[in-house]
Symmetry: C2
Subunit: 289 residues, 2 copies
């Protein structure tokens, strides 16, 4: 049993971790840290956390477990606040969507990566944000990637793994930079695309009419454009070295489509669409397996 479980950033992700560990009775007291006073108030009112405060150092002092669940852009100040109260006996982990940048932020504050800090990333979320969207089963059946370094304590990794598994997640391990490469393709690039498409249409004079005749396909396709822009700003800046080449590659693919359209290259274009459909089928088969 964890005595004091501290969640820094009680939004959708952090709040859902709190609700999930509570449901599984993994800890006695949950401390929530949030600089958004209204959100912290709600987290207390909803019983997601037992104790709340605005300062990461105050909240994490004396905790056995600390989860960083704020946007990755805030990790510098949050880690600086944690440093004076850092305990060698506690476990520290995070849920940041980019891992290379988190490792760098930790190194910048601590000089090296403390062995009891285990970088992690649950592949889960929704376009909603805030503690009100948090649930106690968000991680059920979801994947979590841990990116321990050679200096990370194997015991700390096992403990973090055990908590994720206890709340229903499947845990894999990966190199931080490889994580960033994979996630740039499956998550960061699609978000950029959805934002870019909706931004473009939203600036057109006839946007009202355009949206009026948009169907379910458009709704699904653009769902991720409703994601929190601050969170995605941080992710995109933190992982820009992986994302930028993919944007260029995608424009290359789109250029190929334009050329095929221009030349009326029906056979090639059919082949292009059909191979995309097949690739998505491979994705679905893999997910359902």
């Amino acid at each position: 049993m964890i005595e004091r479980f501290c969640v820094i950033g009680v939004g959708l992700i952090g709040g859902s971790i709190a609700r999930s560990v509570r449901r599984q009775r993994l800890c006695r007291v949950i401390v929530g840290v949030d600089t958004d006073h209204a959100n912290l108030r709600k987290a207390l009112d909803l019983g997601v956390i037992d104790v709340g405060c605005a300062d990461a150092g105050v909240g994490a002092a004396g905790a056995d477990w600390v989860v960083l669940a704020t946007p990755v852009g805030t990790f510098g100040p949050v880690l600086s606040a944690l440093r004076p109260v850092w305990s060698e006996r506690a476990i520290y982990t995070d849920v940041g969507s980019t891992k290379q940048s988190v490792v760098e932020a930790v190194r910048a504050v601590f000089g090296s990566i403390p062995p009891n800090f285990v970088p992690g990333h649950p592949i889960a979320g929704a376009e909603q944000s805030g503690v009100e969207a948090a649930t106690d089963d968000l991680y059920q059946g979801k994947r979590v990637i841990l990116t321990p370094l050679p200096t990370t304590s194997p015991d700390a990794v096992r403990q973090v793994e055990a908590v994720w598994e206890a709340i229903g997640a499947h845990v894999s391990r990966m190199d931080p930079s490889h994580h960033d490469e994979v996630l740039a393709a499956t998550s960061h690039l699609p978000h950029v695309l959805a934002y870019a498409l909706v931004h473009m249409l939203g600036e057109k004079d006839e946007q009202q009419e355009i949206f009026q005749y948009a169907a379910a396909g458009f709704r699904d396709f653009t769902r991720i454009a409703s994601s929190d822009p601050k969170m995605w700003l941080d992710i995109c800046l933190a992982n820009r070295e992986q994302i930028a080449p993919l944007i260029a590659q995608l424009c290359g693919e789109l250029g190929r489509v334009s050329k095929m359209l221009d030349q009326g290259a029906a056979v090639d274009l059919f082949e292009f669409f059909a191979s995309a459909r097949n690739a998505r089928q491979r994705f679905l088969d893999q997910v359902e397996r």
Copy 2:
């Protein structure tokens, strides 16, 4: 009561029209035309149609109502088959996703647009295809755009409108080229994007791993890449003059994102993402109104 209702192309769209008019008891006999023998067999077995044949001319002869529901690329031969049995007393309409190309196909076969041909397009569908996916409520609450020409009979337009409304759809009227412009933005461009993204990822060596860590956002975002490639080939070729400039525009937007990433222009990038999120909220507000 329509005596003989003929659906040419008994797939998801045509089959759902047949099921819907049957449910509303709008007609006595439904004739289905399909060159895919297995699909036609299924349509008969499922009771979606009463009579089936492979030839559009044979099927449409003597019908009071004829709906063309084959991919728009087939309209030339289908209309040629209809010409010898064309009746001035019957109503003809279509469900093609591009309207300018349909009008041109009709003009190419008939020399002018017969007054009893009403071009139309239901904004409904799914990534599934074939008669087995057809339902009797697909058009419930959906939008249908009719694009009559100045020479189209107002009475024919009213009759087509009445059938769509009877099966639950909301009907609007629009100029064919304006229809194509609006749909290029909300439907054709997103399909091209989804195909291009999945095609690109599906060609990567690490595709299996990439797909393994893709989440619900990716699944939704790429859903339309599972659409029928033949249908989308036809649509994209038919409407390439509207689609190509939008592809170029979107690459321009993506180029702006790349530049902001490169320059670390946090304020501008946040503004970009936030205005996209706001635009999508306007879309949702409009849909729910």
